[in-house]
């Protein structure tokens, strides 16, 4: 296993318990989807792995995170990036005052600030040709889709072995989401980068993922191969909005029955 999270507990501000014994694993070279409703603790899981938790006043209070055989929980973010894990934050944290090229060069920090940037820049431009055309533009003026591509490209500059993606489809048009997910799949296949993907768009996430986990209330409630999850009745109703017949079901019909239902009960 490339990444193994075992019985993880995370506390914010020393009082708010967000993860309550979460366990999951990312095998080498795979795409793993982490699904769940708002507030389930998906983003917290990614932050715990990437070391960004400290910045948000959170801390791992129990459990272990093992990456390539070494324990990494509680390590500072820059050390974790150097080990090969990089998180792409939700909401596209571009450096909006910097040019596209400088945004990308910032990703070279862990390797001495980027003297030999040319090779990495070409790799990033290879996946995202749009960025090459806009390399001298200030990133704040890019479209939402372009900004998302920029932050993924920037993460690739660190030459990661494991990419943590937090809701890459957030606020993007369906066509752009499709393109983005094709590129994510290419990054996985061509560069061999393993991916832990957090998504609200479960349908999309499960189409490219090998394995899926469903979170609720800070724990994993269900997991299995992506294909099986896609066929699972509960996942279909909760996340894909589909009934047995494959027709769209209105939220109103679902709510009385399913909303109170827990994953245990099925």
């Amino acid at each position: 296993m490339l990444l193994e999270i075992n019985n993880l507990e995370v506390l914010y501000n020393e009082v708010v318990l967000v993860l309550k014994g979460l366990s999951l694993a990312v095998p080498e070279g795979r795409i793993v989807a982490l699904l769940g409703s708002n507030g389930a603790g998906k983003t917290t899981t990614l932050r715990a792995v990437s070391g960004l938790l400290k910045h948000e006043n959170g801390a791992v209070t129990q459990g272990t995170i093992t990456y390539q055989g070494a324990r990494i929980e509680g390590r500072p973010a820059h050390e974790i990036v150097r080990r090969g894990i990089v998180q792409v934050m939700e909401g596209r944290g571009v450096f909006d005052e910097l040019t596209v090229e400088d945004n990308l060069r910032a990703g070279l920090a862990v390797r001495g600030g980027g003297r030999r940037a040319a090779g990495e820049l070409e790799t990033a431009f290879g996946y995202f040709p749009v960025l090459k055309a806009r390399r001298r533009q200030v990133a704040g003026y890019l479209s939402g889709g372009e900004q998302q591509m920029l932050v993924i490209g920037r993460a690739l500059m660190t030459r990661p072995a494991l990419l943590l993606l937090d809701e890459p489809s957030l606020g993007l048009a369906p066509l752009v989401v499709g393109e983005l997910f094709r590129i994510i799949q290419r990054i996985n296949r061509e560069a061999g980068v393993s991916i832990l993907l957090v998504e609200q768009n479960a349908q999309m996430a499960l189409t490219i993922a090998d394995h899926g986990y469903v979170m609720e209330g800070g724990r994993i409630m269900l997991d299995g191969p992506a294909r099986e999850l896609q066929d699972n009745r509960n996942v279909r109703e909760f996340y894909l909005g589909l009934t047995e017949q494959g027709a769209l079901k209105s939220y109103r019909d679902v709510k009385h029955y399913v909303r109170r239902k827990r994953w245990f009960s099925s």
């Binding site: 973010a77 150097r82 944290g93 910032a106 070279l108 920090a109 600030g113 003297r115």
Partner: protein
């Protein structure tokens, strides 16, 4: 006309030194959002450290100046590590009070070590004179302008192109994102303080070469405010232009208005200009407006 040119040229020289000192202030503000009230005292310490090496220890300038910069850099790192780093994440006002306290400590130490008499600064620069438009420019002003100018250009290029420069701008722009791509922002903060202390020390030396040095040198810290607010608190080109404007304005108002109304105009003029410009451009000349995507 000749009088005007004389004032203009010396004003530019003074202004470029102000710009250099303001650069340090902007750097700290940009990367850490801390308003450093001790920038003037860093100038004071720098000037007196140079004085100690030159006059008290009798070292040649070629040795004393690099040593002064080294002392300043060490001081900058120490201050950041001991005083500012524990304050990470604390309210802005608390951090500002820490820099005010630091200013007091630095000023007090300088007074304790060197006493509060005027000290003549030794001649450190080779004689140099230039006549421009029929106006002779004194050597120290020329050197001051030259060295400050070279440093400003060097720093601009450093921020624009070097890896560390990109990292510093990235950390200043979006701290969480900088952390997420592996930038060690604590090291960026430390470097900001070290550079700020170094340019302050250099500014102190250049000012010392023009004039005598005394304990009031720290008051330059107040003059930094019109300079940086004029340029926009977080803009390095703004600090440079702001420095030049304030330097020239100070000299011209001192030369032309002061004889009519008596003393003090020189000290007030920069702040009057500051008020006027802020009425028209609240972000300063080059300050960042939030980018809004349409």
């Amino acid at each position: 006309m000749r009088f005007f040119l004389q004032l203009l040229v010396t004003g530019v020289a003074l202004g470029s030194i102000y710009a250099l000192i303001a650069l340090g202030f902007v750097l700290i503000y940009k990367s850490t959002r801390i308003i450093n009230f001790a920038q003037g005292e860093l100038v004071l310490i720098g000037a007196f450290t140079a004085f100690a090496f030159l006059s008290q220890a009798g070292l040649p300038p070629a040795l004393a100046l690099p040593l002064t910069i080294v002392v300043a850099v060490v001081l900058g790192f120490t201050v950041e590590r001991l005083l500012l780093r524990p304050m990470l994440g604390e309210p802005v006002i608390a951090v500002i009070m820490v820099t005010l306290g630091l200013a007091g400590i630095l000023k007090g130490s300088a007074r304790a070590i060197w006493g509060s008499v005027n000290r003549p600064f030794p001649d450190i620069f080779p004689a140099l004179s230039l006549t421009l438009f029929g106006v002779g420019i004194p050597g120290p002003f020329l050197w001051g302008c030259l060295i400050a100018g070279v440093c400003l250009v060097a720093f601009t290029l450093f921020f624009r192109f070097s890896g560390w420069g990109v990292m510093m701008r990235a950390a200043a722009n979006h701290q969480a994102a900088a952390l997420s791509v592996g930038i060690d922002v604590r090291r960026v903060f430390a470097l900001s303080w070290a550079i700020a202390a170094a340019v302050a020390a250099l500014g102190g030396v250049l000012l010392g070469a023009i004039n005598v040095i005394d304990m009031n040198l720290g008051a330059i810290g107040l003059k930094v405010f019109p300079v940086v607010i004029l340029g926009g608190l977080d803009s390095i080109p703004g600090a440079i232009l702001g420095g030049l404007i304030i330097g020239v304005l100070e000299n011209l108002s001192g030369g032309f208005i002061e004889p009519w109304v008596g003393g003090g105009v020189k000290a007030v003029a920069p702040f009057v200009a500051l008020l006027l410009i802020l009425l028209i451009r609240p972000y300063g000349l080059f300050g960042t407006r939030e980018i809004e995507r349409l």
